[in-house]
C-alpha cells in the first residue's frame, strides 16, 4: 500500500537555503545542493524548493541550482515561488522540476491551473494555499501570510481541484512556526472536501506531531522546513519512528 510521505522544504534566496524565516535572528544559510543530497540520503520522499528570491535578476541562479540538484537526485522535486504564467512552468520544468506549485499566481489568474493542468497534466500542478482563521472562517492569505484576500479558503481549494490541481499543499498560518503540531482541525475539514492528495504544512515541532497528522483521514504527506534544517528532527530518524508506530512509511 502507498506510503505516507515526508517532504523537506527548502526556501532558496539568492542561491542559498534560508534556514528559518522568522523575524528574530539573522537567517542562517546553507548550500541547497548539499542539503538536498543530505535529505535524499536520509530517505526524504520528495523535496520542495521555494524560490523566495525577490529580484528577477536572480532567476537564472535559481534554475541553475535546481538543475544541479535534479542532475543528481532522483526523487520527485516540486518547485514554487513566483509562478504566474505558463512560461514560469516551462522554465522550472526544463530545469528539472517534476511538479510546480502555484499560490498567489493562481489567485490572480485561476485559469493558470486549468491551462497548466491541460498542458502538463494534473499531476504536475500543485495548489499551495496559505490559510488562517478570520472571524470563524478560513481565509486565503498571500504575501507570506501578511495579506488577507478575503477569499473563503474552502471554496478556493474546492475550485482549485475542479480546475485541475493534482495535489494540495495546505499551509496553516495559525500553526506555522508555533511547533505545537499540525492544524488537525483545518486539515480534517479540508480532507472531507477534496479527493486529491493533501500535503500538510505548518506546525511540525516533534516526531509525534507527524504521528498525529497521519491519523487524519485523507492526509498523505507532511512538509516541514526548519525542524529538518536545524536538525531538531532527522528525516531518517522520523521515518523509522513513524514506521515503528505502525504508519506505512518507506524506509
Amino acid at each position: 500500500m502507498i506510503t505516507k510521505r515526508i517532504i523537506p522544504c527548502l526556501d532558496v534566496r539568492n542561491g542559498r537555503v534560508v534556514k528559518g524565516t522568522n523575524f528574530k535572528g539573522v537567517a542562517d544559510v546553507e548550500d541547497p545542493v548539499k542539503l538536498a543530497k543530505l535529505y535524499n540520503k536520509a530517505g526524504a520522499d520528495e523535496l520542495v524548493f521555494y524560490d523566495i528570491t525577490a529580484s528577477l535578476e536572480d532567476r537564472p541562479l535559481f534554475t541553475g541550482i535546481l538543475k544541479e540538484v535534479a542532475k543528481e537526485i532522483f526523487i520527485p522535486l516540486t518547485v514554487g515561488g513566483s509562478i504566474n504564467t505558463l512560461n514560469d512552468f516551462d522554465r522550472v520544468l526544463k530545469a528539472g522540476a517534476d511538479k510546480v506549485s502555484v499560490n498567489s499566481g493562481a489567485i490572480k489568474n485561476p485559469n493558470l491551473i486549468n491551462e497548466a493542468a491541460e498542458k502538463y497534466g494534473n499531476q504536475c500542478v500543485v495548489l499551495s494555499v496559505d490559510v488562517s482563521r478570520v472571524n470563524g472562517e478560513y481565509h486565503v492569505f498571500t504575501k507570506g501570510g501578511r495579506e488577507d484576500t478575503g477569499i473563503n479558503a474552502l471554496d478556493w481549494i474546492v475550485e482549485g481541484e475542479k480546475r485541475g490541481a493534482g495535489e494540495l499543499v495546505l499551509n496553516s498560518i495559525d500553526t506555522d512556526g508555533v511547533k505545537n503540531g499540525f492544524d488537525k482541525e483545518m486539515l480534517g475539514v479540508v480532507a472531507k472536501l477534496i479527493s486529491i492528495p493533501i500535503i500538510a504544512s505548518g506546525g511540525a515541532g516533534k516526531m509525534d506531531d507527524f504521528v498525529e497528522l497521519f491519523k487524519i483521514k485523507g492526509v498523505d504527506a507532511g512538509l516541514a522546513a526548519s525542524i529538518f534544517h536545524y536538525k531538531e528532527i532527522g528525516v531518517k530518524e522520523l521515518k523509522m519512528y513513524l514506521k515503528a508506530q505502525g504508519i506505512n512509511i518507506r524506509v
Partner: protein, 203 residues
C-alpha cells in the same frame, strides 16, 4: 547508446539526467536515423493516452518501432509510455495502442473502491512475480518505487513481472520478449529506479 524518444509529451530532463548519472550514453530525439543507431530505446510519456498516441504517430516513428520490436531491440516504456505498448486503452473512449503487449489500459477508479485516492501518487512496494526477468535483476521484493497514474494495465497477468497493491493488483513491471514496461517512474524512484535503468542498459 540509449535512444529516448522525444515526441513532445512530458519532461525528459530527469530521465536523461539519470542515465547520465549512471554513465550511460543516451540521446533525446525524434529523428529516425539517430534512433536506428541506438541499441535500445526508451519510450517515455505523461498525459493522456490518445493525445500521446497521436503525437507519437505524427513523428512517423511507429513503423520503425514495429520493426525494432520484431528484431528484438530492447524497448522500455515508462508510465504512459508503458501504457502505449498495450493493445488498447479505455482512457476517455476506446483507443488502440502499439499492441506489443497484450492487455488493456483501464481506469483505476473502475476497480478500486472510493476510499482510495486516484491518481495513485507516491511510493509503493514492488511485489515481484517473475524473479528471472532481466529488468529487475537488481531489484528486491518490497523495494519502493514512485507512481503517478490514474489508469493501469489489465488482463495482462501472464506478462506480469511485478505488481503493487493499491486496492487491487496494479501491474508495475510487464515484459514480453524484449519489450518492457514500468508503470512507475524509475527516474524518480531513487536508487531502486536507477538500478532498473542500469539493468535495462545491460539487457
Amino acid at each position: 547508446m540509449i535512444g529516448i524518444i522525444d515526441y513532445g509529451v512530458g519532461n525528459l530532463f530527469s530521465l536523461k539526467s539519470s542515465l547520465d548519472y549512471l554513465g550511460l550514453e543516451s540521446i533525446v530525439t525524434n529523428e529516425e536515423v539517430v534512433l536506428k543507431k541506438a541499441d535500445r530505446i526508451i519510450l517515455p510519456g505523461v498525459g493522456a493516452f490518445k493525445d500521446a498516441y497521436d503525437k507519437l504517430d505524427k513523428t512517423g516513428l511507429i513503423p520503425m518501432l514495429d520493426e525494432m520490436v520484431k528484431e528484438g531491440k530492447p524497448l522500455l516504456g515508462i508510465c504512459l509510455g508503458m501504457q502505449l505498448l498495450f493493445d488498447k486503452s479505455y482512457e476517455y473512449g476506446e483507443y488502440i495502442g502499439l499492441g506489443y503487449i497484450s492487455g488493456d489500459i483501464i481506469a483505476m477508479r473502475d476497480i478500486i473502491n472510493d476510499e482510495l485516492k486516484v491518481p495513485h501518487i507516491g511510493w509503493n512496494e514492488l511485489q515481484i512475480t517473475d524473479k528471472s526477468n532481466p529488468l529487475i535483476k537488481y531489484t528486491n521484493d518490497g523495494d519502493f518505487v514512485y507512481f503517478v497514474h490514474s489508469y493501469m494495465g489489465h488482463n495482462c497477468e501472464e506478462i506480469l513481472v511485478a505488481h503493487t497493491e493499491y486496492g487491487a493488483m496494479v501491474p508495475a513491471v510487464v515484459s514480453v520478449g524484449n519489450v518492457y514496461g514500468c508503470q512507475f517512474h524509475p527516474e524518480k524512484s531513487g536508487e531502486v529506479g536507477l538500478k532498473i535503468l542500469k539493468a535495462f542498459s545491460e539487457i
